[in-house]
Symmetry: C3
Subunit: 362 residues, 3 copies
């Protein structure tokens, strides 16, 4: 029996009156527990070594129990799996969860998890992700095969460059070659300039009201802009150096490390485009891997032609949703006090009621 | 009978127990419907061609009924007017509403609308608007008649430049002439540097409590900063080009297209100045066209001398208020859960109760 | 009897059923009154000359009574003190309060005030504050004794430069001497580049639940980023001048005047570090002056190595908390509708109940 089939069987044996919601204590876990508690679920925080002390500071987001493991890999051990299954646990994956556990371990994990695990393969592999976006027919930045093709601003990205260090922008092939000799280990991507919008969607395959897709419905729960360090502040240094460029050997170079998030909204007249993006990405996901389920995020730039270019998909809850534990300017138009974490818990509740739990777990 | 008189007559024949609130589905319409529904009004969404699909995603902001028209101009047709009057509709204008319908059509529209239509003439004509601001006695940026007068940083704006394209900053007449030969089709405006604050006010001619003006009262419901694309992100490109300026023929030029909004607050010690600005603008509006009514926005820059310079007035609800469908850091000090959309509905309710509906519609 | 002892005596004679919360009408006073009113306290607004008119616009934050004084110094006069004591007033200090009154006057003020007055001495003296931070063992920017030591980007700050005018960044001793001849009246500080986070903490010496310190507990109530004028907008001018540097005699120079605040959050995985900073600063404060009590703020920069460098401590409520009169993305995980202002009122309530009022006033 493959793991998919095994998990469907597992969930069919769950005590549906006593489901627990579990996740690893990081990333967006406070929000996930906070939402689950509001919906009346038992909650389990999985932590390495010891209970994270800062949870004490947030009683309304503190899980009912902690499951302490020795290492992240330990989460898939027989003992931990047994404990989680005994509690009828549904695990909610987030960015750190999958990163810490490893994609392989997560794919063979014997505890039912919220959403479609197969989205992972497409999210973590840049080429597969690009095919997904192309298949969906949403606007994406052009990739240049050779420097000679450069016909406007491009950003040159190096594989494995930590935090985007060394990335540069250029506008001609000549400039490109002045900066580096070859282009083997770099990607030459169209430089798209505009406002960054991270769009927080939720796709429910089981909800029959709302913005209808071929099957289920699509929601927009919020938007944020990531705070990227140090690129978002580097202009201050440049200004304070009065235009000189900082080329001494100890000068600070641009980097793109996400340290947090700020709340934003988009013009209401852009919402039809926003939903179109979300819809196309969902429908294509249904075609290629059975559909992403639950929260996902499109990372876009809105240009001054009011077009959104999609850079990336996060096929799970993103940390930007942590801005809105009690609702966002968008979720307020759905129902009061609705976070993405709470929406996940609602979805589990709805699936239980309509006897469709197997459609939202994997 | 002129239209003003006709509309007063119309409103006097309305069934005041069954007023509807109607607007065109765009701009800030979700918020307007959301607020009107909370206040218990029947709501009508006017849409061209078909019901906008994204409304399905926001049930708490979805109007009770949609009125589908063939084109925006069709809104003033006899048939549509009849339908709206039958529903005792008060139309709430917003930026897109007036833009789509055309100012002329709106001025002769036979359905009562919230606020004072005559503010439009002053808001849409830059010279009249400037006179309004000058008459109010609020600080505004200097306009230079000739390049020779330039004595500090100025921004040179070209008439009809879409999204602010081609705008540049200069500091001397020489620099000016290096960039352009003549100044016939451009405005030379003092360049004010500082933090941009968009101040969301609400003027009620009928409310007798609160911050009292000669007649009625003034409220501050929120603040935002507009996200201007691409100017707000262009520094990233400049940094990533390591200071080179992007003068190849395909280089990206600055533009100022509003794509969204971000929430901000001002220092509490600035509030007396903020209210003074709002008060002066309202009192002058009473003098010159009978007074603006309801929501309006002053677009300001706060300099490092802590002075606000006013650039523009929006004499109606602005899209930045969409940040606060359940209250802002300012409206929370008035009452919980108060959006500008809800405040409009409250104002209609208040005017009905105090038999002053004719004072807040036109 | 010293003032500390006198105030303990005063508070022991208070009618604990009828405590008033008083503060000067500025800075964060709307929030303080708003929170105190929600907790059912009688509230007193101290204002110079006349009641500030803008309070009329915010009924839910308007104090129950105003105490009009002739000047800020007048607050410590016998007459005013008598009135405050009659009302069993506890005064909540904020940035403007202490600034207007003067530290000396505040230290000898005969009305009990919330928190520990002795924190003031350490907050207002840069050298003492630095010792506090060093003693706490939190990361702080390096101070260079001589220009010759410069080995990377530094910011050169001039003593008493209003709004940070004249500050510049340099990377070498040579560059330093090109710009100024001597370094007597300036500080050469390591230039830390990253995202600015202002962390809003609350330390309760009397609360026994939550994130436990040696005594009492620590809370995180929010975060903001200050809006600094004009430095945060100056890049727009630079871009619009197409890279030219603005060296005409009337050119705009960088400045750092705080005009307001914007809401942000940090990655959840950074919270352990955030609490560690808060904890270390509190524990050291207990060692050196008996402990800061109530709200305080650490002004930090988060680098692309995900390290926080602490620049400053505000040992009292900061204006950035005004963003969250009805709760922040962090306080929502504690309880709904919790502002820092309300938390202060709660703390007074809690101290009264547990008979520990003398531990939270001074």
């Amino acid at each position: 029996m493959n793991n998919d089939a095994r998990l469907k069987e597992t969930i069919s044996s769950y005590d549906l009156e006593n489901i627990s919601i579990a996740t690893v204590c990081s990333h967006s876990s406070l929000q996930i527990f906070h939402g689950a508690k509001k919906e009346g679920f038992h909650t389990i925080g999985i932590a390495v070594g010891e209970k994270p002390r800062f949870y004490d500071a947030f009683p309304a987001a503190c899980p009912d129990e902690f499951l302490i493991v020795e290492s992240y890999k330990d989460i898939v051990s027989e003992g931990v799996v047994k404990k989680l299954l005994e509690k009828n646990a549904i695990v909610v994956p987030h960015g750190s969860f999958v990163e810490y556990l490893g994609a392989e371990n997560f794919l063979s994990f014997k505890v039912p998890s919220f959403g479609n695990k197969h989205s992972l393969t497409f999210e973590s592999d840049r080429k597969k992700e690009r095919k997904w976006l192309e298949g969906a027919g949403v606007p994406i930045p052009r990739i240049y095969d050779t420097p000679e093709e450069i016909d406007g601003p491009v950003i040159v990205k190096f594989d494995g460059a930590k935090g985007g260090k060394g990335f540069f922008v250029t506008e001609t092939a000549e400039e490109f070659y002045q900066k580096i000799k070859e282009h083997k280990n770099c990607t030459i991507q169209e430089f798209i300039l505009g406002a960054r919008y991270y769009l927080h969607f939720f796709y429910s395959p089981v909800k029959s009201t709302g913005y209808q897709l071929k099957k289920g419905s699509l929601e927009l729960l919020g938007m944020d802009r990531r705070i990227e360090t140090n690129i978002d502040e580097l202009f201050r240094m440049r200004i304070l150096r009065e235009g000189s460029l900082g080329h001494s050997k100890n000068s600070i170079q641009p980097s793109f490390v996400v340290t947090g998030n700020a709340p934003i909204i988009a013009r209401e007249s852009l919402l039809p485009k926003v939903f179109e993006l979300g819809e196309k990405v969902v429908e294509e996901s249904v075609n290629i891997f059975g559909g992403l389920t639950g929260p996902f995020c499109l990372e876009t730039i809105c240009t001054d032609n009011l077009e959104f270019k999609v850079f990336e998909i996060s096929a799970r809850i993103v940390a930007g949703t942590n801005l809105f534990p009690s609702g966002s300017p968008y979720s307020d138009f759905i129902e009061p006090d609705l976070s993405t974490g709470r929406r996940i818990a609602e979805e589990i509740r709805l699936a239980v009621k309509s006897n469709k739990l197997d459609e939202i777990i994997s």
